[in-house]
């Protein structure tokens, strides 16, 4: 790796999802020096795992492609993948950031030809598909991966598979001697954009995510629609691979709940409404969707989307938070609860249940310097003088649109800090 040059006029952006990419590019296009860190082997984050955006139902790969092109074209951004921040100390205008870079075992020579993948045998859970399918020990994160460079799983490096991958590479790109690197960067401002992770559905004990194979999470459902995904783009029941006929969507699965995430995750209502359109598009009249909700939070212009979904005769809305799920006939499950419009006790059988799990912040404990306020929901509170700014889902539960706006604002704040430093030094 060539040397990473950073000064206290450099902006560090942590996280290469839609927010981090946006913040990094906005700052870089203002002429600032930016270092962009991404923990995984590819940028793109959660957005790259989505099938469609709401409310326009366009494909996220389109917007990502634009960002990747901007990134490729901009000399001011230095991207480091597989890099994780371990500690930040200092103050606005003068931070010292310790970074751990994990070895990829594949260097810049890689052309993504895929020969190493063919050569190796060992398979592991595919993180990009939430473990719904397997990937090889030598792999490309996804077809849209950026950089388009393979990764060797550390678990095969010391095995025969490692040697096979090396032998298969015609470009001398596989380097099994690569080691972990520790960097210490001096930067002026930090944009923290490590985003979110889906709330662990298994923690919602009464819903039986860990017990019933046909209870899945919304992010898993989203992966099913990818033509290159675990089901080849088909909506199926995990238990038997058949198309479902009667899907239940459960809202606020882990959100707005003191026992789980206290905050409203804000995206799950629209995500579910969007997913009912997938059902309609693929299965038509052969599948019913039922949405169990406390209240639908589709505000402003997105309420039009809500109204449109409500017109679909195959979609039913039940105003009730499901109390628990028990086994039904065959692989079906029965949802139990009491609805709020009439207080009727119900026990409804469904053949697939999608839990609209919420957004859990990934802001780590003990990494940011003292004085940075992390609120009760684990989001970074805005403090305009502190020099470290949460962007996107590190600052609040946001949809893509708002995350991009928020990241732009964070970039502007970071620019102000480094401008101040430049003014003092100039």
């Amino acid at each position: 790796m060539s040397e990473v040059i950073a000064t206290n006029q450099t902006i560090l952006v942590v996280g290469g999802g839609i927010s981090g990419l946006t913040a990094a590019l906005e700052a870089a296009e203002c002429g600032k020096q930016v270092i962009l860190l991404e923990k995984s082997p590819s940028v793109g984050g959660r957005v790259s795992q989505l099938h469609k955006y709401f409310p326009k139902l366009c494909v996220p790969s389109c917007g990502l492609e634009i960002q990747y092109r901007r990134l490729k074209a901009n000399k001011n951004v230095r991207l480091l993948t597989m890099a994780e921040v371990t500690q930040i100390s200092g103050e606005a205008g003068n931070f010292t950031v310790n970074v751990k870079v994990a070895p990829r075992y594949v260097n810049e020579n890689c052309t993504a030809c895929g020969e190493c993948e063919k050569a190796v045998g060992a398979e592991f859970d595919d993180e990009f598909n939430y473990g719904m399918k397997k990937r090889k020990g030598a792999y490309l994160v996804s077809n849209m991966a950026y950089p388009q460079r393979y990764v060797i799983d550390p678990r095969i490096v010391a095995t025969d598979d490692g040697a096979k991958a090396k032998a298969a590479c015609k470009y001398n790109a596989v380097d099994l001697e690569m080691a972990e690197q520790n960097l210490s960067l001096n930067v002026g401002a930090v944009v923290w954009a490590t985003g979110w992770k889906p709330y662990d559905a298994a923690k919602i004990q009464p819903y039986g995510y860990d017990r019933y194979s046909n209870v899945i999470s919304n992010v898993e459902f989203e992966r099913m629609l990818d033509p290159f995904g675990p089901t080849g783009g088909k909506i199926v029941r995990p238990s038997d691979g058949h198309a479902p006929k009667n899907i239940a969507f459960i809202q606020c699965a882990g959100s707005r709940d003191q026992n789980h995430l206290k905050h409203c995750s804000r995206i799950c209502c629209m995500a579910t409404l969007k997913q009912t359109t997938y059902v309609k598009e693929q299965l038509g009249d052969n599948c019913k969707s039922t949405v169990y909700y406390i209240d639908i939070r589709a505000i402003d212009r997105i309420d039009d989307f809500h109204r449109k979904v409500k017109e679909d005769p195959n979609v039913t809305f039940v105003k009730s938070k499901v109390a628990n799920i028990v086994a039904g006939s065959g692989d079906n499950v029965v949802l139990k609860g009491v609805d709020t419009e009439g207080y009727n006790r119900y026990a409804n059988e469904h053949d697939l249940v999608v839990l609209a799990t919420g957004m859990e912040s990934t802001v780590p404990a003990g990494v940011l310097p003292a004085g940075i306020v992390i609120n009760e929901h684990n989001f970074i509170d805005l403090d305009s003088d502190c020099g470290i700014y949460g962007a996107g889902c590190s600052s609040d539960a946001l949809d893509v649109n708002r995350a991009a706006q928020n990241a732009t604002a964070a970039a502007l704040r970071a620019i102000q800090v480094v401008n101040r430093v430049a003014g003092q030094e100039g």
Binding site: P206, C252, R256, D257, Q258, N259, H260, I294, S320, K321, V322, A323, N324, K336, G337, V338, D339, T340, Y343, R345
Partner: protein, 208 residues
Amino acid sequence: MSDMNQAMVQKYRSNFLKEVEANVEEGTWVKMCMQCGVCSGSCPLGPHWEHPQQELFMMIRAGKREEVLSSSSMWMCTSCYNCIARCPRGLPITHIMHGLASYAKRLGLAPKNQPTSKFGDIFWDSIAKNGRVNELKIGVSLYFMNGFSQGIKNALASRELGMAMMKTKRMSPTEYFGGHKCKDLSGIAKMLKKAKEFEAEHITKFGE
């Protein structure tokens, strides 16, 4: 209508939520309910409630005073605490139910002959009188709660259990005539008197 009941009707007019907040234990939580229904769906006795918990909260807010206070619903609570454990907003639902039941009882609006309410009375009378519970008397009183012939039927239905208990000396028929008491009866009486004073003070404070 009891005097206290009339006084409360006068005082709160149509604002039953305010009345509950001021007079019912943990009543200030009622406004926090977001009507998700998890409490009702999680209640093991749910199907036996005339109005599920979430409906009671809505009825309180809608000012349905008579319906709520004379309902048998909150008397169905067995204090399993499932609703408290599951409530996404942390409402102390079990306590509110007990608070409602107790308030309804104080006002004389609790349903007559509701078994839980009746059991409470019988239990209290027994323990207040003797300083300890006379299980035989409580059992017999409950059997005969709904009249003599029903009582005989109830007793006959459980006769095998009763015989077995007598055989293993878990129950003695002589207990019916007095039964044994605790040693310091006057001490118990004093303690209960003091407790009642505290309660009265507590209620007046609530009622303000």
